[in-house]
């Protein structure tokens, strides 16, 4: 069963963390992802560029409308995602809880996949 882990965090808060500490967390994160790839859990994933690099596309009065920035004006923004294969929700939650950025704040949404497109 597949789940999408959506990692959301406060970008400003993250920047305020000393660089040395951020590097350490990223090293741990990298090691975790390698672990998950080896165990066959990790199917896909990506780190996203900051929300300032986003554009949101909508329809307004039948016409294409674009706004600068992410779709939701929230303090916490999507920073990356991981598509994982697990036997059940508890396994997915256990993996989400291992993500090293969590102790520094942020939230990880765990959403079950309905069906894949490709």
């Amino acid at each position: 069963m597949q789940y999408l882990l959506m990692c959301c965090f406060d970008e400003t808060k993250w920047e305020q963390i000393p660089e040395a500490q951020r590097d350490k967390v990223m090293k741990e994160y990298h090691a975790l992802l390698q672990d998950l790839a080896k165990s066959g859990h990790l199917q896909a994933g990506a780190k996203l560029r900051p929300s300032t690099a986003a554009i949101t596309v909508r329809r307004k009065n039948g016409k294409a409308a674009m706004t600068d920035g992410p779709f939701a004006e929230t303090k916490e923004q999507l920073g990356g995602y991981h598509l994982i294969e697990c036997k059940d929700l508890d396994e997915a939650i256990a993996i989400a809880n291992r993500i090293p950025t969590l102790p520094f704040g942020g939230a990880i949404e765990v959403r079950p996949i309905d069906f894949q497109e490709r």
Binding site: K87, D88, L89, D90, P112
Partner: protein, 419 residues
């Protein structure tokens, strides 16, 4: 087939339903992998029992018969549906495969299934009110209408909650299992929270004219007993102790006309000594584990009250000491408030009042009616009539419960006309 035999069999089946339907359901959910399928299967099995037991006699192990019959009927029904819906073919294969490896009756497996059911119904992925509704329905066997009445909501609302919860269990694939040792403490916390919530709804209704809905409290205590039978963890034992000790005061808590009677004014001869004895034994068992959780500590405090012949003869020093430990384990403004009340009993009203004033100025309890009524009571004992009146009025503004309102109004009248 005689009418007398049919009546006898129906009574037997009813009795088996009352004693075994919950564990039959728990096992069928594991075997069939789906709540609704299991409920249908159980329903069909009980219907079959009424008919077949008249012909074949009552089986030696009715629960095993019902599980086996339910499972075969479910697979049969799925096979029929699969003829019209090819997508179900896979599910039928899975069910048939699962049926293959359960041979014979396994008492231990069935008890595990009841635990699996409790932990699944109380999974943190489900909304808290969904956990409560699902637990009452699936584990306790309460009807939707009963649950709705107990929580002062409508049957369709409860039904919706339960449908959504089952859908979430299916869609998110919440596993039907007892949590691992690593996850057990947190997951057990969730279960205890649900049970205590049910007990509290029964102990003091959150609004309305009647102070208690004691069928709910009884249900919570039954759940608590089941839990420690399956999983004798110290905090589970502590929770059962706490519920029994609080329940033991039921008869003394309200007057025949429904007036609120505070602990200090209760007629202790009305306290249920059997429940107190059982509660105290359980407290000792829980604390002997040397793991001091919040429920066990609150139960210990209740036990000190239960053993005291009167308010004056209560060991308030021990109660304050227990609150000190409780504060370290689970700091909360409400617990600090209760500790302040105990300090007032040990050291005099002025000491307690200083603590409550400090708490109120911190802001957390501004909207908690019991904080204001406790403050009022201490002011009254110190002869500070004006301040007592202000605080009783503040408490009155914050509570919707009729018996509590009448109590506060009575206190206000007594301030103006001291007897």
């Amino acid at each position: 087939m005689s009418e007398g035999l049919e009546k006898e069999i129906r009574e037997t089946v009813d009795s088996v339903y009352r004693s075994d339907s919950r564990r039959v359901l728990a096992t069928l959910i594991r075997l069939l992998g789906d709540f609704d399928l299991a409920e249908e299967a159980m329903h069909d099995a009980f219907i079959a029992a009424v008919e077949q037991w008249q012909r074949e006699g009552v089986p030696k192990n009715p629960a095993a018969w019902l599980i086996s019959t339910g499972r075969f009927k479910a697979i049969d029904a799925m096979r029929r549906r699969a003829r019209f819906d090819a997508s179900l073919g896979e599910i039928v294969k899975q069910l048939e495969a699962a049926a293959g490896d359960t041979s014979g009756w396994n008492e231990e497996a069935v008890e595990d299934d009841r635990l699996r059911l409790i932990f699944t119904c109380c999974h943190p992925a489900l909304a808290p009110d969904a956990q409560v509704a699902l637990t009452l329905r699936e584990v306790c066997g309460l009807a939707t209408e009963e649950i709705a009445r107990a929580f002062l909501t409508t049957a369709p609302t409860v039904a919706q909650r339960i449908v959504r919860a089952k859908r979430k269990i299916h869609d998110a694939r919440i596993p039907y299992q007892v949590p691992s040792q690593r996850d057990l403490p947190d997951r057990l916390d969730a279960v205890l929270r649900v049970i205590y919530l049910v007990f509290n709804e029964g102990y003091s209704a959150s609004s309305g004219s009647s102070l208690t809905r004691h069928d709910l409290s009884g249900e919570a205590i039954r759940l608590g007993r089941l839990l420690i039978e399956l999983l004798p963890e110290p905090e589970a034992i502590g929770l059962l102790a706490l519920m029994l000790l609080q329940e033991s005061r039921r008869a003394a808590r309200a007057s025949p006309t429904g007036e609120l009677i505070l602990l200090g004014d209760q007629d202790r001869s009305l306290w249920n000594r059997d429940q107190i004895a059982e509660g105290i034994a359980l407290v000792e068992q829980a604390l002997s584990s040397r793991r001091f959780g919040p429920y066990s500590l609150q139960a210990a405090i209740a036990a000190v009250h239960a053993e005291a012949p009167s308010t004056e003869a209560t060991d308030w020093a021990q109660i304050v000491g227990l609150y000190d430990v409780l504060m370290r384990v689970e700091p909360s403004p409400v617990i600090e408030l209760n500790r302040a009340v105990a300090v007032a009993m040990r050291d005099g009203p002025a000491a307690g009042l200083a603590l409550i004033d400090a708490l109120l100025s911190q802001g957390d309890l501004q909207n908690y009616h019991l904080a204001h009524s406790a403050r009022a009571d201490l002011c009254r004992r110190l002869g500070k009539v004006v301040e007592a009146r202000t605080s009783y009025q503040a408490a009155l503004r914050l509570t919707q419960q009729e018996p509590e309102r009448r109590f506060l109004e009575r206190r206000l009248r007594e301030l103006s006309n001291p007897l």
